[in-house]
């Protein structure tokens, strides 16, 4: 397992994001790249005011989900009440870049849209959308101030108005009690004069946070979805649709969508997968570790009670430096007596050779001194040994009982002076080395460091396990049962290996890698996770009820209880100007079925197999606004 980049934290949410990201990419990667219809004309989105500017990420994400190849081809510009400059916002790989743009440079950017770099089907028109968000308004006149920013934008564009098709998209925050600002905007809109070609736009989309059936939106997410659907429908090579949406009227929209519940699927799989590890690495005390019968072997001692790494080193380095019995006899003596020096004790030898052995041995130890590189390699090797022999809890216990461990790894007897010189040589070497900090410090340091990193990891691990409790439960019982089964199938065949691999994890980076690997395995082993939303839904519903008609189910969702209109009006909204369903058409049984059942519905091919949206446009007359 690789070490990976260092990460500071990991939560179950991170894994859910990872897994749902994988599933979202399926339509572009694993299912082959398919794209649907493309925008017909060059376009700009102006976000007027700081609140509208906040909508960039949501709006652009929605648009690029349908038009992924136009990330550089659509211009997003922000304009705030204060200051003269525009804000040019775009995506750079995965991050959002914001640049200040002087007014005089806006037209240059706009010219670039017509340069041919991004191949729009037609450059006869420029489509301009002005986004206004009233959520942060405190006073009515803020609406007028924001609207007036539009004139600044128009001037900056540098394109004659006759070539422009422009639309104002108003996100209208209304209160259920006193609704001063909402009412003010409604009154203003009711007086809007589309015939004033010079100062008016060609269409206004109004979306309220309170639906016709009095439901309050918790956020503007649905409104951004609708706005992006309308933008997509309006920038269309089907000129009839474009003409309808830029025909000088105020309109609102009804909306519903059915999408692949990637977040919920990821939630069920990740949460239940992580649940299987709750009894691992609990951080329980492992003080028994020194009493373990196999302790000596695990801590790396050889049959002589010396660290094997060191005894191997001694054998390698000192090999021919320890004198043979013949060589001992080459040592000097006080007299010409024929004594076999090799059979003397250490004391006798030193005495007869006038201290030569003590000096020789001292020099030998000096030559044995390990280099910095050698010590580093011992450290790596020893840490690997500790990790393979001891659990995280045991490594913590070793560090906590370091003094005892030190005694055990330095348990080499001192050589008595009565020992024979030939045996004493090697034994003295061992004894001197285990009592030399230069050799031993690195091993004790390794034990301490492994204990510390095990402690840190267990703390991070506990935090990670805790993080799964912060995830909301999925309300869809059918979904939960289905994906728990998927997970169980995976574990039935992989459980042993999964837990084996888990034991190798040493730090947070490896933990992330471990979980991502296993989630990837689950993903790759189950086609349903990369299927389009309708196939996935079909599999899941049929698992519960074989008789269910999935197309009918989805059709109901798009037109039934989940469908809401996002503006409350005095009278009925009447017949829609446009009924549209946006979905992936290629190879879609759903599309075929919906098309057959809905003759008057306009179908837009998004190329995105993850969702289907129903967007219905209604004209709003002046008397209906007030």
């Amino acid at each position: 397992m690789g070490n990976g980049e260092t990460i500071k934290s990991l939560s179950a949410k991170d894994l859910i994001t990872y897994f749902s990201g994988r599933m979202c990419n399926a339509s572009y990667l694993e299912n082959g790249i398919t794209t649907g219809k493309e925008p017909c004309y060059p376009m700009i989105v102006f976000m007027l005011g700081s609140e509208a500017i906040k909508g960039y990420e949501q709006l652009s994400q929605n648009l690029f989900q349908i038009w992924p190849q136009y990330q550089d081809g659509i211009l997003f510009l922000g304009l705030e009440k204060e200051g003269d400059d525009f804000i040019y916002i775009r995506r750079d790989n995965t991050s959002v870049v914001r640049e200040t743009l002087p007014e005089e440079n806006v037209s240059r950017l706009v010219e670039g849209l017509f340069s041919g770099e991004t191949p729009f089907a037609s450059t006869e028109r420029l489509l301009v959308y002005y986004l206004i968000d009233t959520a942060a308004f405190f006073e009515e006149q803020e609406y007028d101030e924001i609207c007036s920013l539009r004139y600044k934008a128009e001037t900056a564009i540098g394109v004659v108005k006759t070539r422009i098709l422009d639309m104002q998209i108003i996100l209208l925050k209304e209160n259920q009690g006193g609704n001063l600002i909402g009412n003010y905007v409604r009154n203003k809109l009711s007086e809007y004069d589309f015939s004033d070609r010079e100062h008016s736009v060609k269409g206004i989309l109004v979306l309220s946070n309170i639906s016709e059936d009095n439901k309050m939106l918790p956020s503007w997410n649905v409104a951004y979805r609708i706005a992006s659907s309308v933008i997509v429908l309006s920038n269309n090579s089907d000129s009839r649709v474009t003409a309808d949406l830029f025909s000088g009227m105020i309109f609102t929209a009804g909306y519903a969508r059915v999408e692949k519940p990637t977040a919920d699927i990821a939630n069920v799989i990740v949460k239940n997968f992580v649940e299987r590890f709750t009894n691992k690495s609990t951080g329980q005390k492992a003080d028994y570790v020194l009493q373990d019968k196999s302790f000596n072997e695990k801590i790396g001692l050889d049959e002589n009670g010396m660290l094997r790494i060191l005894s191997d080193y001694i054998a390698e380095i000192s090999g021919n430096m320890i004198p043979t019995p013949d060589q001992f006899n080459y040592f000097p003596r006080r007299s010409d007596d024929h004594i076999d020096l090799s059979v003397l004790t250490v004391k006798e030898f030193n005495e007869e050779t006038m201290g030569a052995w003590g000096c020789y041995f001292g020099n030998l130890l000096g030559k044995m001194a390990p280099s910095k590189e050698t010590i580093e390699s011992w450290k790596e090797e020893y840490k690997r040994l500790l990790r393979s022999g001891f659990t995280l809890e045991e490594r913590i216990a070793l560090a906590e009982q370091i003094s005892e461990v030190e005694k055990r790894i330095k348990n080499v007897k001192e050589v008595s002076e009565q020992t024979g010189i030939t045996k004493a040589a090697e034994d003295s070497m061992r004894y001197s080395i285990v009592n030399n900090d230069r050799f031993m410090a690195v091993f004790l340091e390794s034990i301490r460091e492994e204990g510390e990193s095990a402690t840190q990891f267990i703390a991070s691990w506990k935090q990670f396990l805790q993080s799964r409790l912060q995830i909301f439960s999925v309300r869809d019982e059918n979904l939960e049962i289905f994906y728990k089964k998927i997970l169980q199938n995976y574990l039935d065949s992989h459980e042993e290996k999964v837990f084996e691999d888990f034991e190798e994890v040493q730090n947070l980076s490896q933990l992330k890698e471990f979980f991502e690997d296993k989630l990837k395995e689950i993903y790759l082993g189950n086609e349903v996770l990369s299927d389009s939303f309708e196939v996935e839904l079909g599999e899941r519903l049929k698992d519960q009820d074989e008789e269910i008609d999935v197309q009918h189910y989805i059709s109901d969702k798009l037109t039934g209880d989940d469908f809401h209109r996002y503006l409350s009006v005095q009278f009925s909204l009447g017949e829609p100007v446009l009924s549209a369903i946006l979905l992936k058409q290629e190879g879609s049984a759903l599309y075929a079925s919906l098309k057959e059942a809905n003759e008057n519905t306009y179908f837009y091919d998004t190329g995105d197999g993850n969702l289907a949206e129903s967007t219905v446009i209604y004209r709003v007359t002046s008397d209906n606004l007030i």
Binding site: N329, Y330, R333, D336, G355, A356, C359, N363
Partner: protein, 220 residues
């Protein structure tokens, strides 16, 4: 007793340590009244860099007065305290041994606590606080014979040993292993005790080859 280094003081200088070849005396220039410590190191060492190490050794061993004392168990560092009164007599003191490098440092000793403060030694152009003394040694190696037999049958036979003779005058401050001999694939160090012994015997058919491990000690 604490021993610590303090910054050099231009008014408290011990410098220009010199040795005349053949003499057994070391001389240096000193600020009047300044006590000194003379330290002997293995030949050619960066002695000034090792002064902090010597401070720790002096703390363990105490300030050696009246003569040189080994500060690291025969591993080549010796020290001697030279109070100004002693220095004054001959502007120096007797050295310990040769084939080494000496360093002189000025110091002050607290009369009450006994704590020692050593001035950081400095070099001034041609005048240095250290000097290296080399030494030539002659070692005689010959085949050793013994007389065997009686009366008219007495004859001289090879004993199976080489006899090695060292110079008669002692080499004080000799560091064990500065000289060694190579024989049979190993290098055997010569200890100070062997030099004092004057004659040693090596049992071998091949002659031991002597080498010097000290740049200041030449074998002739």
């Amino acid at each position: 007793m604490k021993v610590e280094m303090i910054p050099s003081d231009p008014k408290q200088i011990a410098i220009n340590l010199t040795h005349k070849m053949g003499s057994r005396f070391l001389k240096w220039d000193s600020t009047p009244g300044l006590n000194a410590i003379l330290i002997q190191f293995p030949y050619g060492e960066d002695v000034i860099a090792r002064v902090p190490e010597v401070c720790s050794l002096l703390e363990d061993y105490g300030l050696p007065e009246g003569g040189f004392q080994s500060l690291n168990e025969g591993k080549g560092i010796w020290g001697r305290y030279v109070p100004y009164e002693e220095y004054q007599k001959d502007k120096g003191c007797e050295l310990n041994g040769e084939a080494c490098t000496y360093l002189v440092v000025g110091c002050k000793v607290d009369k009450i606590t006994g704590d020692v403060q050593i001035y950081t030694p400095t070099e001034q152009a041609m005048m240095k606080p250290y000097c290296s003394i080399s030494y030539e040694m002659s070692i005689q190696t010959r085949r050793h014979t013994v007389m065997t037999g009686f009366g008219p049958f007495k004859k001289e036979v090879d004993s199976g040993f080489y006899e090695v003779s060292f110079p008669s005058q002692a080499l004080e401050g000799y560091m064990d292993g500065s000289i060694a001999y190579q024989l049979g694939g190993i290098e055997v160090p010569i200890t100070g005790e062997m030099l004092k012994q004057k004659t040693i015997y090596v049992e071998s058919e091949d002659m031991p080859i002597f080498v010097s491990n000290n740049k200041g000690l030449t074998l002739k």
